[in-house]
Symmetry: C2
Subunit: 288 residues, 2 copies
């Protein structure tokens, strides 16, 4: 059992982590640090954290692990700030959806001023903030670690924590993670955000009723497209390179099917759709 863990940014992910750490008795005391007093108060009221702090200072020395659960654009800066106080044996981890986010000057301090184990628990909802947190958010989901040095002990400790709160843990290279996420998460979100805008620019009389007439497809898209704009602007920009490449491939594929539809190539369209269904079924089978 850890004596003290700090969670910087106890929002949906951070506060859910706090709740899970306590439920599984992984940690005695949890410190929450946030610039939003309101969010801190909420995280404290639901007992996701035991102490509220509004800034990083030397008190951080007491925490064996520090989880950074802020939007991805802030993570590197916060680690650099933490390094003024932390020591070699203190573990810093994060939950960012993009992993190629660390500056050289930060990486240089690794294994000297702290032990960094970047992570990404693939969990979340379209809601954000401690007010939407719940302790089994992570249950049966995957957590990907992208270690940047060979500090086995730190990697083991972080893995163990996510496992104990119900996650399956995989390890991969930073670029592999960011590429996979560009197609499985970032592009779908970009599309979802975009299509809602497209819909409401259409010249349709009953625009306000669009959602009523949206079975499946669009309803899922609007739900995804209601995710936190700040968080997603950050993700799109931080994973810019992979997202750009993946988006280009997608656009090429959709232009291809657009042409097939224009030319009414029935059997070619059918084969394309059938292939998708086969791919999908083959993955689902493999999982069982």
């Amino acid at each position: 059992m850890h004596k003290e863990i700090t969670i910087i940014g106890p929002g949906l992910i951070g506060a859910s982590l706090g709740l899970a750490l306590k439920r599984k008795k992984i940690c005695k005391k949890i410190i929450g640090i946030d610039t939003s007093k309101q969010n801190l108060r909420y995280a404290y009221s639901i007992k996701a954290i035991d102490e509220k702090r509004e800034k990083i200072d030397k008190r951080i020395k007491k925490s064996s692990i520090i989880f950074i659960c802020t939007p991805v654009s802030l993570i590197d800066k916060i680690i650099y700030e933490l390094s003024d106080y932390t020591e070699k044996n203190q573990i810093i981890s994060d939950v960012g959806s993009v992993k190629n986010i660390f500056e050289k000057k930060t990486l240089k301090l690794n294994d000297k001023k702290f032990s960094l184990v970047p992570g990404h628990p693939i969990a979340g909802t379209e809601h954000s903030g401690a007010k939407n947190a719940f302790n089994n958010l992570f249950q049966n989901k995957w957590c990907i670690l992208t270690p940047i040095s060979d500090n086995k002990k730190s990697i083991r400790i972080v893995s163990e924590i996510w496992r104990r709160i119900g996650m399956k843990v995989a390890t991969m290279k930073v670029n592999e993670h960011d590429k996979i996420m560009s197609i499985t998460s970032h592009l779908p979100h970009l599309i979802a955000f975009t299509i809602v805008g497209t819909a409401f620019n259409l010249n349709i009389k009953k625009k306000n009723e669009l959602i009523n007439f949206a079975a499946g497809g669009f309803k899922d898209f609007t739900r995804i497209g209601s995710s936190d704009p700040k968080m997603w602007t950050d993700i799109f920009l931080k994973n810019k390179e992979f997202l750009k490449d993946t988006l280009s491939l997608f656009l090429k594929d959709i232009e291809k099917i657009k042409k097939l539809i224009e030319d009414e190539k029935y059997s070619q369209i059918f084969r394309l759709l059938q292939r998708t269904k086969e791919i999908r079924n083959s993955i689902i089978k493999k999982r069982i």
Copy 2:
């Protein structure tokens, strides 16, 4: 209570309709017509239909209403075939996802050889066939009617049926329906089918594990993208014009955000995403 209703194509929608008609005691006897013996047997075994037929013939005269629940590309042809046997007072309706599907020669027979009330119950899952039918598939969903003539009695009878099995019924013009569906259903499906293909053409080592690492976004997309390929090829081609226009607008919008990401225009991207969230919230509020 109707004495006899025929359902042509008792698949997911048709067999669910049969189950609902019987549960609500709207009809005494339901005839199922299908070219697939297997599907007919299944529909019969779950009591969605009371009699199995493999072809359309003069026995159809006994049905006061005929619902055509086949893929959209077959509907017009079937109506024309029915007209050899039907009489002026017999109602023909359908459940197709595209409504601009009737040939002139078919429309000419309306109110002479049958009374046509085109409809679209917006309900369904990614599964198809009678084996996936369930009686409350339509509960609380919307059904859109796109009447092509002013036969008030027939429109009232068809409306009444959908209402009694739990649907909210709206009436709109054919083009309005097809335009709305192009954005709320057809484009999302086209995107979902495409992105699964894009993903599996990507050069990724752990391709088979893609689905594991897909929180939200991609998982929804693969589910949508596993819908029936024949049905969706039909829909894409039948709604070709509106789908093409809507897709072009979407592509313009996504090229715009792609450029913003490339140029790292943080605040412009943020405003775009925030607007989506606002639009979404405003619709959701209006519904309550």
